[in-house]
């Protein structure tokens, strides 16, 4: 039971372990990059079915980002949409027999959440300068500084644990159903897996977007007041 659910160690050298989740997510990254490269080589004005489907997805993602951050769309959109594509692929690949979602590993989701954690000051500083960004930590009162810091850390932890807990528990539930009831019974649970994978990918990207927007807009609101 544990061999399926917890990450397997494929290769080990001293303290460095390569787990199957890490290998799968690196493979997914390369695959997504290759797909993005090869599919955009020959775009047509009158698209075929594949291009129409992909354009629909990309447009939906673009609109979601544009609704929240119209002015900073060009900077933020590649990061958020990259997160979305990776999470869509990583969550949905668990539906293929023999493969498990790499996002069931807390290390993978922590890495993604850490990226979001770093991107908030990155976009904030890029749009409003170092001093402008750092000053929002001591607004409205300097004694709120620890609360701001704790808030940033806990929401990052929550981001990682939410994705991990959801994907992990989906696999666990399907496995328990398999143990209790037997062959083909977990299929309805796997349909739930499909829905939940989409929802979790959407929520992760959306929360990242909201955090980044908070880092950027808390500045511009103050600027406009001045």
């Amino acid at each position: 039971m544990e061999t399926d659910l917890f990450p397997r160690v494929l290769w080990q050298a001293g303290p460095i372990q390569i787990t199957d989740t890490l290998a799968l997510s690196v493979a997914l990254t390369v695959l997504l990059w290759l797909a993005g490269w090869s599919l955009t080589r020959h775009l047509q004005l009158e698209p075929g079915p594949l291009q129409t489907a992909l354009e629909g997805i990309v447009l939906a993602m673009e609109n979601a980002v544009r609704d929240l951050l119209p002015q900073h769309f060009d900077e933020v959109a590649p990061f958020i949409m990259g997160l979305w594509w990776f999470l869509l692929a990583a969550n949905l690949i668990g539906l293929i027999p023999g493969l498990e979602s790499p996002t069931r590993d807390l290390s993978i989701t922590s890495a993604l959440a850490f990226l979001v954690f770093l991107s908030v000051p990155w976009f904030g500083i890029r749009s409003h300068g170092l001093k402008g960004y750092l000053s929002h930590y001591v607004k409205p009162f300097p004694f709120l500084l620890p609360f701001h810091i704790v808030g940033e850390i806990t929401r990052t932890v929550a981001l990682a644990v939410r994705l991990f807990g959801n994907m992990m528990s989906l696999g666990l539930v399907a496995l328990i159903f398999l143990l209790l009831a037997g062959f083909l019974v977990p299929v309805p649970i796997l349909m739930l897996h499909g829905v939940e994978a989409l929802v979790q990918a959407y929520i992760f990207g959306m929360l990242a977007l909201v955090y980044i927007a908070g880092g950027i807009q808390s500045q511009s609101r103050r600027k406009s007041k001045r």
Binding site: D67, A158, R162, N166, S169, I203, M206, L207
Partner: protein, 87 residues
């Protein structure tokens, strides 16, 4: 062996009770949030898009409480750190 029995009993009871009680609060919270959101959509259907977005984000926040609960219970069941005092 006697200690082990108590550990198994304790962690099983804690896991069952913990997930039951821990899901209660988020369940009530999510139900209230969805009810209010439906109310708001019924009043102002044109605001559905922004309401749904805020609802999803809020639900994710509430849901993470239940996920914390699940993570604690997984730790109790699979990787109990207190076992080392007994073994």
């Amino acid at each position: 062996m006697h200690d082990m029995t108590w550990i198994v009993l304790g962690s099983t009871v804690a896991a069952a009770l913990g997930i039951g009680i821990g899901v209660l609060g988020p369940g009530i919270g999510m139900g209230r949030a969805i009810a209010q959101a439906l109310d708001a959509i019924a009043r102002q259907p044109e605001a559905e898009k922004i309401l749904m977005r805020t609802l999803f984000i809020g639900l994710a926040m509430i849901e993470s409480l239940a996920i914390y609960c699940l993570v604690i219970i997984l730790i109790i069941l699979f990787r109990n750190p207190l076992l080392q005092y007994v073994l």
